[in-house]
Amino acid sequence: MSALASRRSALPRRLLAAGLYVAMLAWGVTALANTSGHRSISVLCSSIEDLCRSWADGFTRQSGIDVVMVRLSTGEALARLSRPEGRREFDVWHGGPADAYVTAAERGLLAAYHSPEAGAVAPRYKDSEGRWTGVYVGVLGFCSNQLVLDRLGLAAPTSWDDLLAPELRHQVSVPNPLSSGTGYTMVWTQRARLGTDARALDYLKRLDANVLQYTNSGLAPAGIVARGEAAVSVTFSQHCLRAIDQGTSQLVVTYPREGTGFEIGSVAVLADARDPEAARRYVDYAISAEGQLTGAGAWAAQLPTRSGIDPDPRLGARADILDYTPQDAAAARQRLTDLVSSELR
């Protein structure tokens, strides 16, 4: 067979191969084009992913503005926003404990905005300069899988020391204090209840022997316990209730009798927002009754910061809350995370 004839016989196969390749490329480019809206804002969300999506969808329905939502744990979000390119990436930060917002405000990352909706929020749940506003409250608790506990012959924990039981070796799931706001709240809570950094670190080191894996995000431990991979997790109770409402009925929520920490989940306009006007509209929506009730329409309600909304009775009603101000927790953040980074990780 001549070279020319050989080339001709190869032509249909090559055309088919090239066509397939180009078709895949065209599909990818088209899909990217379709997901790039006309006017959109980027929201960095540090709450439950389902809830983040519900917030984004609710805002889009109300305003007609598309939302590009990215979920990152609070610690990762703070690190990302502190980088030059991260500042230009997002317009709004939504969810995660207020102490991280205090740190962000000190770094000049947040824009002041006194939302008209913020009048219904108690002063202890918002920044006096308007740089952040609380939109929900979460209480740190234990989320346990009753089936796994039964197998281990244990009751659901009601004390921080219960987590140190030898039977719970590699059966406790906790978030990484370096990446997760929930994880940092857990560390801060130990500092608050035990009185010194050294005692808090000693407790965390003893707990470390029972930890299965430090998760990046604060809501992940609830999912891990729901799957039965671990018996107990330390997480904000709304994450556990979400799993229960999704059908994992073997989960139980308990709180430590020594007292526990809590978060003021917040929202803020970022100082380098690309579309500040749309960002402010988003913050209005997040603080509004509709925004704060979005959780109730999804999987789990969160304790609201607005007056006039009835809270879900399962969320933290039985918990003994330790003293907490976002400013104190923020002031200790660098010191405590450095300690965890050097001594525990």
């Binding site: 196969r13 397939l20 990046n216």
Partner: protein, 541 residues
Amino acid sequence: MTPRLIRWSIWALLAVPAVVLVLGLLGTLATPAGVQALGSVLNTQSGLIGSTLAYCLATAIAGTGLGWLLAHVLAMYRTPGRRVLHALCLAPLVLPSFTFAMALIVLFGHSGLVTGRLAPGFEVYGFGGLVVAGTMARFPLAYLNLSWAYRRLDTALLEAAGELGASPGRVTRRLVVPRLGPPLLSSFLLLFGDAMADVAIPLVIGGGYPTLATRMYEAIASEGDLTAATAYALLLTVPAVVLWLLASRLGREQSNPIGTAAPRPARAPAVAGRLLQVLAWASAGLVLALLLAVLAGALSDPDGGLSTAQVWSLLHGPDTRPFAMSLVLALVAAPLAMALAFALTRAASDELGRLRRARRTLQALAALPPTVLGLGAFLALSATGTWLRDAGLEPRIVPWLAIGAILAVHLVRFTPRVALPALRSADALVPLLRDQAVLLGARPRDLTRSLVWPGVRTEIAGGGLATFADTLTAVSSVILLTNAQVPLLPVRMLADIDAGRLPAASAATLVLSGAVLIVTGVHRLWRSDLVRRRLTTVVAR
């Protein structure tokens, strides 16, 4: 343009991004804070270095052993189901590296399908699970390397030894094993270096087991500590470069692009051979079980029924963007790496000395761990972002910068891997090119079309396919470069696994491997013609 200028221009296409990535790292380290961070890491993290070395050593030994076992069984014995066994050996190459870690949790986790009922106390998290997952993800590299070495064995010598009465075991001990020393060692070093740079598998199944790569990621993603991250990166780079250079000297020259045909069998196995066959099939069975666990997870719904909803949402739903972005980047990066590799091969193939210099340069580039390349790109991206911001330029350029940085990392990482096998094949072309050019006065363009391209196209095409698969499933090199506008599916999968959404991650694995299989089909459609034409030429001769 003169030939010299053309050569320099081609090299610049690769060298400029490589230098930018490396300079970003050195610039961060060459400050008082950088030196202090390096000293601090060296003084306080000896345990971390030890645990990293233990993980890499165990993975490299186990992966090389498993690769040898499968290559040996397929090359030396008539084994039923050879094609299936070969396909199972190659399957991990089309999956994200942490897929098996995820599948191990599904099967052998605390609530795993197997251990949940049969062995409730079994512990898959930590060192043991990490080594098994790392071995399953990496043994195909050793398998390919050693299969190629087996093909180069003198079969006539082996057959003669057998006909003269040597038992199969004696033939293996006296003739085969001594000739496999260098490829075995090079496979070990290759797997060791690959494990050192890995971020994803320890994050998924490490259970808190610390490694340098995960600490580097944590330092930058959670703590925002660039100098500490760069110090960790340096600790990763030095051994990786030394190991890769050793591997290059010890037989990487024999490595080949992805093979699509199983090696030829030689003989019926004796007792020892049968035992090896059983072990090989048991290993392949584990690969198959893990793949089925991923498939089942991808097609399951929360109520335990069958559903394609999760797969569909990646193809046409709210989660399409990460997959589309990963796919487009891989479809663009692969041909770019192939074109650049061919241009480099052509530019170096006029002269043996030039070929050797090109090979050495590319080997050094290929030695850079992907995690470190990603960090270098991240630092460069940060600096560029700051400069653009200060200059008041349009911030919408930022997503394009991220896309450019990801493509640059892929090009610097994969162009050498495509070009090195082509440069080895080009060795034989040098005298031909010189003779044709000098004696017959052939034009450079004609030499390129009639000599160089036919001589290296198999290597370039195979390397392009491997590049597509690796870029589509890459995590370690791009984990720091994704952002809101440029999301990548494998990085998102890590977040899904962290949050316990294993079915969503399984669905993403299925979609990614499907895309690799389609492009493999495209590759075979193109190559089947080449193979047929080559056979026709041989018959005609």
